[in-house]
């Protein structure tokens, strides 16, 4: 299992602050696989180029090259709106 953490307004699209993602230990998860596993409204929003992705707290330079594994935390980060 992996965990998806949608931040900001993506949490509204997800309907929850955290989504468990069933994932066998042996198989990884790529970007298309992630989108396929998420609620449609959230998956559609993710292609916005301003949305960043972090795996276990490390920002990905290119989210399309996501490779996540069981146990990972995948954060979906929309543009920040400041302090």
């Amino acid at each position: 299992m992996a965990t998806v953490v949608p931040l900001g307004k993506l949490a509204d699209l997800a309907g929850a602050p955290s989504l468990p993602l069933p994932l066998a230990l042996s198989t990884g998860l790529d970007w298309e696989g992630l989108k396929a596993a998420l609620p449609a409204a959230l998956a559609e929003a993710l292609d916005d180029p301003r949305i960043r992705v972090a795996v276990n707290g490390a920002l990905l330079p290119n989210k399309a090259k996501l490779q996540a594994n069981a146990g990972d935390e995948i954060a979906l980060l929309p543009p920040v709106s400041g302090g």
Binding site: V5, L7, G8, K9, A11, D12, A54, N56, G57, L59, E73, A75, L77, P78, P79, V80, S81, G82, G83
Partner: protein, 148 residues
């Protein structure tokens, strides 16, 4: 003296600034900015969310950059998260230095980055409805001032 914090409850800036100033003996100047939730028409509450694994490390990196860029004796950077009411402080940045230009510019630099490059998401409640705040163009142009 370096003090970087995320706080999930109400704080009183004066209780931080006095001890911070005293912790930097020999300083020439201290500049402090305190941001509060504005009492705009109809705003009942503001909520700031963050992503723990990125937000606090990001504030520490920002402090590193401020120390590298300006000649500072101390830097205090405190940011609220969670639910806030109008009039409550959101952010307090204070910089102590030998010279005023470093202190003022460091606060300006940290505030511009906290507003548009730190990992916070903001929504406000108006007439009982929550609305996400989009990034403002002004925030991005403020940030561009430091990229020379």
């Amino acid at each position: 003296m370096r003090d970087i914090r995320l706080l999930d409850r109400m704080f009183i800036p004066g209780t931080l600034i006095g001890p911070f100033t005293n912790a930097n003996p020999g300083l020439g100047g201290v500049c402090t900015f305190v941001g509060e939730v504005r009492s705009d028409t109809g705003v009942e509450a503001l909520e700031l969310s963050h992503y723990e694994p990125l937000t606090l490390p990001g504030m520490h990196e920002l402090a590193d950059r401020a120390f590298a860029r300006f000649t500072l004796m101390g830097l205090l950077m405190v940011h609220r998260v969670g639910l806030m009411r109008p009039g409550e402080p959101i952010v307090c940045v204070s910089a102590a230095a030998l010279h005023r230009r470093d202190a003022i510019d460091a606060v300006d630099f940290c505030m511009d980055h906290l507003k548009s490059a730190a990992w916070f998401w903001k929504r406000e409640k108006r007439d009982g409805q929550w609305h996400w705040i989009e990034p403002r163009e002004q925030d991005h142009s403020d940030l561009a001032r430091w990229q020379a």
